[in-house]
């Protein structure tokens, strides 16, 4: 088997591999740039928290409309945004920091979600039923994740300057007219929409992993956000390809393989990255 066969033939032979690749790439293009801003804003754990926060909305959507992407998506976005809004509000109005208020609200939300699920008496593993697998993408799922990625990139392009300014100096925008809050909210909406769309299509681990790991890795290679964004998306795509191939050839589950591939990129970046990587740091330390 030549290398080309090894890399290309799984995608040529099987439609599910092509769909998995398309879905994972679309997710990388949309979510990884958001991850860059989350890293910048020191909100890296927000994705994880949000994955729990959307549960009650998704559960309500599921219980009312069954396995309908639209209903669950609406419910998830509603609760996700509610948690994000309330947490942001508390952080601005009280001395409690945003991470702490986030943790508080997502735990309340998670508790509510678990309660709702069990209230209905049916004890099936809702997370398992609701959240998709990267190997089983249908047309609607693919459309959802690609549309989400496109909208994300367009909105990011529109608010890019304000967003960077807001990340670096939150006080600046607030002082020069109320745009800061709007930009912050727009960003949170993007994160929530990406998470909700991704959960249903690809699973929790996939979305949060693809959002954060490439962004964290990219930070070690280039300094500016403008360069980190394309680099993180590229790392996400590369990890998707590598993970799917490993899953195919070595018979391991697909989404953990993709996330571990991204994790390997991250670990390699920690060591070898020119922007604060360990090797560079020791080399710089020696002459001094």
């Amino acid at each position: 088997m030549t290398l080309v066969d090894w890399v290309v033939s799984p995608f040529l032979d099987y439609g599910f591999m092509r769909r998995a690749l398309a879905g994972a790439c679309a997710l990388s293009l949309g979510a990884a740039p958001l991850g860059v801003f989350l890293v910048l804003r020191r909100m890296s754990l927000m994705g994880d928290a949000m994955s729990h926060a959307i549960l009650p909305g998704v559960a309500v959507g599921f219980l009312m409309a069954g396995l309908s992407l639209g209903a669950m998506m609406l419910g998830g976005i509603a609760t996700g945004l509610a948690v994000a809004l309330l947490a942001g509000l508390v952080a601005r109005l009280t001395p409690l920091r945003e991470d702490a208020s986030f943790a508080a609200f997502y735990l309340i939300s998670l508790g509510l979600g678990v309660l709702l699920v069990s209230l209905r008496g049916s004890n099936m593993d809702l997370l398992h039923v609701l959240f998709g697998t990267v190997l089983g993408l249908d047309d609607a799922a693919l459309l959802l994740v690609t549309a989400t990625a496109s909208v994300t990139l367009l909105v990011l392009a529109a608010i890019y300057r304000l967003l960077v300014a807001e990340c670096l100096d939150p006080g600046f925008l607030r002082a020069s007219g109320g745009m800061g809050g709007v930009v912050h909210m727009g960003f949170l909406v993007l994160v929530v929409v990406n998470l909700v769309a991704g959960f249903q299509v690809l699973g929790t681990l996939m979305v949060v992993g693809i959002m954060m790991l490439p962004a964290a890795a990219a930070r070690f290679w280039v300094r500016s956000a403008a360069r980190q964004i394309p680099l993180s998306a590229a790392i996400g795509v590369a990890s998707s390809v590598a993970g799917l191939l490993v899953s195919y050839h070595f018979d391991v589950p697909a989404s953990p393989a993709i996330i571990l591939a991204a994790g390997a990129c991250y670990l390699f970046s920690i060591v070898g990255g020119p922007q604060g990587g360990l090797l560079r740091a020791t080399r710089r330390a020696r002459p001094a």
Partner: protein, 344 residues
């Protein structure tokens, strides 16, 4: 006797409202036997056999997954009051031992699958050795009617050692997916209820007899249905390996799409292998279940052109009003769905 009893109880209840203290003792004596069944399918069998002589509680209700069930304190309370607990056995209710211990349950436990020939979980196809102890008459009758079909479907499983079947943990617990086993379940339930409530033993046995007759009639008609389908077309992919007993009993090969457990995520290799198998063996139909995620099965169907069959009920009954609300209805529905998808 049976027809008089509910009326008498109603009368007693009415009178209890008038002169509570005098009637209480009698009312309690006539109170039905409290029975807890572990999951919905078993609950339905117990209801058929117990009728109005028992008061039944089912722990895992319709559409609930009894594999990964987490008992609630309410369950412990129900169990503490109960005099009979009916379980499937074959290590199906792994969560139950803890619950019975914790609840202080002091009644009798009836294992419905007692006497069923356990089927070993196999990677694919079937692992049921013939000529073991039970349900001989059914198997033999089938062999005489269309012996060659039957042999064809089982040609790869005769190397099993009989001793293997009695290991715990690797026996397939979904024994109710064969109506012959359903008969054994009904008999075991009747025996268990009769032992706990000898006063109504006669009634339990009578109801069990009537129920068994229905099960056997359905069994015969299901056999006839599948006997009419060519052996090379009796192959199905499902998302969960729960139909081993069904396959053994009626000569249908079930290819699991997700392996045995409901929560393992498959690798791309496994999915590709299943697609290869469907293409190679020309499997006519792919089925989705009421519990596990349907997305993977749909993808396999899309990629191979196999027919996507309707919902099959495997581990749980459907909610009332839907097609699989009782054991008999569930079985008939599954058989009809499968036969419709496999017909050329």
């Amino acid at each position: 006797m049976r027809s008089i009893l509910p009326a008498r109880r109603r009368a007693l209840l009415a009178m209890a409202g008038v002169c509570l203290s005098a009637m209480l003792g009698t009312a309690q004596a006539a109170e039905p036997l409290k029975v807890v069944a572990s999951f919905s399918i078993l609950g339905d069998i117990v209801r058929e056999v117990g009728g109005a002589d028992i008061s039944l509680t089912t722990l895992v209700g319709p559409d609930g997954d009894a594999h990964g069930y987490e008992p609630t304190p309410g369950d412990a309370k129900k169990l503490a009051d109960a005099r009979v607990l009916v379980v499937n056995g074959l290590d199906f209710e792994t969560w139950l031992p803890k619950l019975t211990k914790g609840s202080g349950f002091a009644g009798q436990t009836v294992t419905a699958s007692k006497g069923v020939t356990p089927r070993k979980f196999a990677g694919h196809g079937d692992g049921h050795a013939h000529g073991a102890d039970h349900d001989h008459d059914h198997k033999d009758g089938h062999d005489q009617k269309n012996g060659d079909d039957h042999d064809h479907d089982h040609d790869d499983d005769h190397d099993h050692k009989p001793g293997h079947h009695h290991h715990h943990g690797d026996a397939d617990p979904h024994a109710w997916q064969s109506l012959a086993n359903g008969v054994i379940y009904a008999r075991n339930v009747a025996d268990g209820l009769a032992a706990a409530d000898p006063a109504h033993a006669q009634a339990y046995r009578q109801r069990a007899d009537a129920y068994v007759a229905k099960l056997q009639a359905l069994d015969a008609s299901v056999r006839k249905t599948f006997g009419a389908i060519g052996a090379d077309r009796r192959k199905v992919v499902t998302s969960h390996d729960a139909f081993g007993y069904f396959g053994d009993a009626y000569g249908v090969t079930f290819i699991p799409a997700m392996g045995v457990s409901t929560d393992a995520e498959p690798s791309a290799r496994e999915v590709a292998a299943i697609i290869e198998q469907v293409r190679r063996d020309k499997v006519p139909a792919v089925f989705v279940e009421n519990i596990s995620s349907p997305k993977l099965v749909q993808q396999i169907a899309r990629e191979t052109g196999a027919k996507v069959g309707g919902t099959l009920y495997s581990d749980a009954l459907s909610k009332p009003g839907q097609p699989g609300a009782t054991y008999l209805e569930m079985f008939e529905w599954n058989a009809r769905q499968l036969a419709a998808a496999l017909q050329p």
